[in-house]
Assembly symmetry: C2
Homo-oligomer: 116 residues x 2
Amino acid sequence: MNVENTKKQMRKGVLELCILAIISEEETYSTDIIAKLKEAELIVKEGTLYPLLSRLKTAGLLHYNWRESENSPPRKYYFVTEEGTNFLNNLWSSWSQLVSSVNLTTKQLQTVEKLE
Amino acid sequence: MNVENTKKQMRKGVLELCILAIISEEETYSTDIIAKLKEAELIVKEGTLYPLLSRLKTAGLLHYNWRESENSPPRKYYFVTEEGTNFLNNLWSSWSQLVSSVNLTTKQLQTVEKLE
DNA sequence: TTTTAGTACCTTGTATTGCAAGGTACTGTA
DNA sequence: TACAGTACCTTGCAATACAAGGTACTAAAA
């Protein structure tokens, strides 16, 4: 049992929220999504992102348009459907509730942190 | 793809943090742990908790003492080892970082929330 | 023309974990 | 002796992050 591993596990389900949030802000494509996640210090690999986008697409939460680009192959620009927006809102409230639950169970830790 | 399911996925790894935090606050046993999680609106089933406690025990992060109890079978009272305390601190900082990453990627959503 | 570098797309298989569903065993009471 | 309540545990499944591999397009260099 090691921290790095648990760190990965903690992200399960959360990436969906982040990726939907990013796409809902602006139509975008995979490499750019990875870059934006990286800015927020969330390192996501292609092998993670592509299957995730496919799942969201299949579930009708995302759609995409092909767009040409200079000096590179065409890109899939994703956007969030109405259904996707609802889902995103639900995810957000689930996440908010999880954060508040964790805050309650880790009160002690937070106190220690403040004392330092 | 449904919200309930993703909600479960979001808990992966987080339960370790919460359970270690609860035990670190006070020696306690499984049924009581479940009750405390429930207070924080985290519904955890026995089939989740027992394997988790076993893993943490095997990894040397937890130990336990048997204690008699009135009107019921003996209980395993768990406590966090020194190694477990280190691990807990690492989990806490991973969690804090995840929260801050999610906050960054979902800025838009939070703004919407405030406007309501 | 051929090769290389960069970008963009995708798939397969593995490890991990939450949980449903089932079970055993101890205590005190009816 | 039977039952209810508590406490413990196991097996098998579903879901997801990711390592590791691959294809295909563009443009510039050899």
